[in-house]
């Protein structure tokens, strides 16, 4: 007699059949394995030994039984409860199938858990709950990654922006860095890196080591121009390049450049420098021989003709934080920015080197004006107290209530303390950007610290 499948086995059950696995306690039928099928005239002991041998393995063995058998096992695993109930009652009417399944599943057996789980899945509400749980966990683990990947992609638009961070300014042979300088550098880089990662921007950290080539020609600051050119070459996909000095802090991680400026450039930028004109530049240029475009106070008014976005502080152009668009116009500006004949005449009179040179070019060469857009200083370049006066002036100084985007510790190396300023603004930024979850985790940490008496210092 060859059975197609095993009847309900009992533990140490009396009914035995060669090749079957009596008393396994497992809920899935075992009898159909090819191993047991061919064996006909085996004695009871031999069979038992065989089955014992089999039972050394975990209940779901990994023997490769072929597709059908594996499938069958999976199918039959779902029938655990049925087997469980039959085991208890010995007989179950077909109509009663599935009744009392949840409670009847053999909780003690190892597959019982599986069975219980399967039952759980069978219940509609539970299933929804389970799916929700999976989704929630996926959200927690993967969502930020997915969002970042999307933002990096051409669809998300993040690849259009490159942040250029100047590090190691005048470092190298000129000056040894102390612990504070290192702290500034480390933290500033981390700050930009986190921001860039979040929005899918590319971060380029440039090493502005004092190079002989530049000091030889008295044009250290013009290295900036070469660096920008080089990075534009390196990132052909990008459109906007954001220069940031090392002594800056991005306060609002949640603000993207797109939403902050570029989705609506026109509404943020003023082209007519008369709106705020600390240098008293005559604008538009008055010469009669210029064309209408050069003499228009706001250029052509088209936002696609803006190639340089910068802000003015109390004393003029501020180049701690500015944007350049990849374009022919920009190439020309970078090219015209440094000229030996101009610099030879002016290097003693230009206190801020490349910044003064840019101011000069803006004044003296009308072609530049239509490509320059000014942003209100606090949009990209808020100052701490001490720069542009010690009294809090909402024209220049960081306003916590307005959640200013970037703080630039401009000229902090001249008699102020860069590191303590960065530290202060980092703390403010962290404070402002705490999510509710941060609060909860902090409380948990506090409770843990109370219980275990081990306050874990963070950074």
């Amino acid at each position: 007699m060859s059975l197609s499948r095993s009847p309900s086995p009992h533990r140490g059950g009396g009914w035995s059949s060669p090749g079957l696995t009596p008393g396994s306690g497992r809920s899935s039928p075992r009898g159909f394995s090819p191993m047991t099928r061919g064996v006909k005239n085996v004695s009871w002991t031999a069979a038992k030994a065989k089955s014992d041998e089999l039972h050394k393995y975990p209940s779901f063995d990994t023997r490769n039984d072929g597709f059908f058998f594996r499938q069958k096992r999976r199918i039959s695993a779902r029938m655990s409860s049925f087997r469980g109930t039959t085991a208890r009652h010995g007989y179950v009417d077909k109509d009663d199938y599935g009744r009392g399944v949840l409670h009847g599943a053999g909780a003690g057996s190892c597959t019982g858990m599986l069975g219980w789980f399967g039952n759980l899945l069978r219940r509609g509400k539970m299933r929804i709950l389970f799916v929700a749980l999976i989704l929630w966990m996926g959200y927690l683990l993967l969502w930020s990654t997915i969002v970042q990947l999307y933002r990096q992609s051409p669809l998300g638009g993040g690849s259009k922006f490159v942040i250029i961070l100047a590090s190691n300014v005048e470092g190298g042979v000129m000056e040894w860095k102390g612990a504070r300088e290192w702290a500034v550098e480390r933290n500033s880089i981390r700050n930009k890196r986190e921001y860039a990662r979040k929005w899918g921007y590319k971060l380029e950290i440039t090493n502005m080591l004092a190079k002989k080539r530049y000091s030889h020609e008295w044009r250290e600051s013009w290295e900036k121009v070469d660096v920008i050119r080089e990075i534009m070459r390196k990132n052909p996909q990008a459109e906007w390049f954001w220069w940031l000095d090392l002594n800056t802090w991005i306060m609002e991680y949640g603000t993207s450049l797109q939403s902050h400026i570029f989705d609506n450039i026109d509404s943020h930028v003023y082209r007519d420098i008369n709106e705020y004109n600390p240098l008293n530049i005559t604008h538009p240029p008055p010469h009669f021989y210029l064309d209408d475009l050069a003499r228009a106070p706001t250029g052509d008014g088209d936002e696609s003709s803006l190639h340089l976005l910068l802000s003015q502080d109390c004393s003029g152009f501020s180049l701690g934080s500015f944007f350049l668009r990849r374009s022919v116009w920009t190439e020309r500006l970078l090219d015209a920015w440094w000229d030996p004949v101009m610099y030879e005449q002016m290097h003693s009179q230009w206190p801020h080197k490349e910044q003064s040179a840019l101011e000069y070019i803006y004044q003296s060469q009308p072609w530049t004006r239509s490509g320059v857009g000014f942003l209100p200083q606090r949009r990209i370049n808020s100052f701490p107290l001490g720069a542009c006066g010690d009294d809090n002036d909402p024209a220049f100084h960081y306003q916590e209530a307005d959640r200013d985007f970037v703080v630039n510790m401009a000229s902090c190396m001249l008699g102020r303390d860069c590191w303590s300023e960065i530290y202060t603004y980092r703390a403010i930024s962290n404070d402002l950007n705490r999510s509710p979850w941060d609060g909860v985790s902090e409380q948990i940490r506090g409770i843990r610290a109370k219980i275990f008496g081990a306050p874990d210092e963070v950074d």
Partner: protein
């Protein structure tokens, strides 16, 4: 006999199985919707890419094929007769080819030039011409000490035509002859050039050059006219400033087409400093008298000789 297991195809047996079984027609509908959706999405994506392509590419201005000949006259030092001859010579040429003349006076730009030598006036004059004729395609600055000797030849066929210009361009040639380090670019196409200029044996000659009416022209003229260049005391004022710009500013160099001297600026026999093969021969378009600049127009005998020659030619034709 033991009972076998219940029939395996119980409806409850495979949870979730039935939900994936959609009627065939529904599946087909869904498929169509998906295909349409994806294609619309792809279409929009491609469109957005096409239209977001950079606006930086220089588009040739939608001007007429017009050429503006710009001449700066120094009415204080030129005699009336000299000026009238120059004007007659150029008006005739312009009339033949439908070009426009732009005569300007040095004194108009006195304020702009400031303390610098008055020869600088040519730069704001060019800017002025650009502002006055925004639709014109080319601006030809022609020295006031030059005559058009072959009036039937048009600038277009002689120089500006794409193939013609590409064959004329001197590639990989030193800006400052004979051995300057900075050389013109070896791979230059006509559509990438904005400035057509010649050089004599000493360097670039700013007395005769052609500018295309594009963004570059404004940038180039503004850079050239920078106050710090004017105040630098270059020995040859704007001419040396131009030499300087082309040697230090690759964005300008990359847009310059250097052509043989005789095509645009052949020197008369008595003038010194012509490049090899730069001296005027019969049939050349233009003859220049650089010596007249220094000597003053009254002593410029050669000029008047050639003017008579031209007059005969015009009357004969």
């Amino acid at each position: 006999m033991q009972f076998a297991l219940p029939p395996r195809k119980s409806p409850h047996e495979l949870p979730g199985h039935h939900s994936t079984r959609l009627p065939l027609y529904r599946r087909k509908q869904l498929k169509t919707v998906a295909v349409i959706g994806i294609s619309i999405f792809a279409f929009l994506y491609i469109l957005s890419h096409i239209f977001s392509s950079s606006s930086d590419s220089l588009s040739a201005s939608a001007g007429t094929a017009g050429v503006v000949i710009v001449t700066v006259l120094d009415r204080q030092s030129f005699s009336e007769g000299y000026i009238s001859k120059i004007i007659a010579n150029r008006e005739d040429y312009a009339k033949r080819h439908g070009y426009t003349n732009f005569f300007a006076s040095v004194s108009d730009y006195k304020e702009a030039v400031g303390d610098a030598p008055k020869s600088w006036a040519l730069v704001p004059t060019m800017r002025h011409a650009l502002a006055t004729y925004p639709k014109a395609k080319y601006f030809f600055h022609m020295s006031p000490h030059a005559l058009i000797m072959n009036p039937t030849t048009s600038l277009t066929s002689h120089i500006l035509d794409q193939k013609r210009l590409e064959s004329l361009m001197m590639k990989d040639a030193s800006i400052v002859p004979p051995n300057g380090i900075i050389k013109t670019f070896p791979h230059l196409k006509e559509q990438n050039t904005d400035l057509v200029i010649t050089q004599d044996s000493e360097g670039l000659r700013s007395t005769s050059f052609i500018l295309k009416n594009r963004e570059f022209a404004r940038f180039f003229l503004d850079l050239w006219f920078d106050p710090l260049f004017r105040s630098y005391n270059f020995v040859k004022a704007e001419t040396h400033a131009l030499d300087h710009i082309l040697q230090w500013h690759p964005t300008v160099l990359a847009r310059m087409a250097l052509i043989p001297q005789r095509t645009l600026n052949a020197y008369s026999k008595d003038s010194s400093g012509a490049s090899p093969n730069g001296t005027y021969r019969d049939g050349d378009l233009i003859i220049s008298f650089p010596a007249c600049d220094k000597a003053g127009t009254r002593d410029c005998q050669e000029f008047h000789t050639y003017y008579e020659q031209w007059l005969k030619k015009v009357k004969g034709s």
